[in-house]
């Protein structure tokens, strides 16, 4: 099983493990617009959240 997986990984071109440089070019106008909206929303809502550090025990990381 692990040998099969190792063989599979070895068979893949290195480029498959890198971000395609033209990812944005493949998007439609509406997809780009949506991405801009989503990014702008996240920045507007959460920019600087790390300045208001609020330690909690739940979820990611060892607290």
């Amino acid at each position: 099983m692990a040998e099969d997986l190792a063989g599979l990984i070895r068979s893949l071109p290195s480029e498959a493990f890198r971000d395609p440089p033209d990812r944005l070019l493949g998007l439609t106008f509406l997809e780009r617009l949506r991405w801009l909206q989503e990014t702008a929303y996240f920045v507007w809502k959460h920019k600087g959240a790390a300045r208001a550090r609020a330690p909690r025990g739940r979820g990611a990381g060892p607290g």
């Binding site: 997986l5 971000d19 929303y41 959460h46 790390a50 990611a60 060892p62």
Partner: protein, 176 residues
């Protein structure tokens, strides 16, 4: 994707899906830069994932629920096998393991694979950050700067981030 009464963006959706399942990870990259106060666009969610079998299993449940699929035909479970990670890093020069939504490729998570960017390395230099309902660990501003300076060759976005982080450390945050 979550879309209830209040708007939930795809980045929040991905973060919430991971934390809801107790996945242990550290946020880095553009999302970390924004959380530290840098105004920039960001496409992917870059994370250092703890690669224990249990955590990778929880991570797989989360990405399955989000509809994200690996961009290479390698199962997510391979992340918990150190030999498979070594193969991807050393033989394929992979830095990240990419997962994306086939219907919306910008909904994407990049999991760091190299030891330098691994969970054990970054969690030591991370801080807790709570965005409403989503408790996170985010790489510190100082470590984020070090990571950006280590990118060789630097991309435009890395140079932008370096300048922005240095300005933030020098002048402090600009509100508004």
């Amino acid at each position: 994707m979550r879309n209830g009464e209040g708007h939930v963006g795809y980045l929040e959706d991905m973060l919430a899906s991971l934390t809801d399942r107790g996945v242990r990870f550290v946020v880095a990259g553009g999302v970390a830069a924004v959380l530290h106060g840098i105004e920039r666009t960001t496409m992917d969610l870059d994370i250092a994932l703890e690669l224990s079998p249990g955590n990778v299993r929880r991570f797989k449940e989360a990405v399955d629920a989000l509809g994200l699929r690996p961009l290479v035909p390698v199962p997510v479970e391979a992340l918990s096998d150190p030999e498979m990670v070594r193969l991807m890093v050393e033989e394929k020069n992979a830095i990240v393991f990419m997962l994306a939504d086939p219907g919306m490729p910008l909904r994407k998570i990049d999991v760091f694979l190299t030891e330098q960017l691994g969970y054990e390395s970054l969690v030591k230099d991370s801080i807790p950050v709570d965005i409403p309902g989503i408790p996170l660990r985010v790489v510190s501003l100082e470590r984020l700067l070090a990571l950006k300076r280590a990118v060789d060759p630097p991309r435009d976005k890395d140079l932008f981030d370096i300048r922005a982080i240095e300005r933030l450390m020098r002048e402090g945050p600009k509100d508004g």
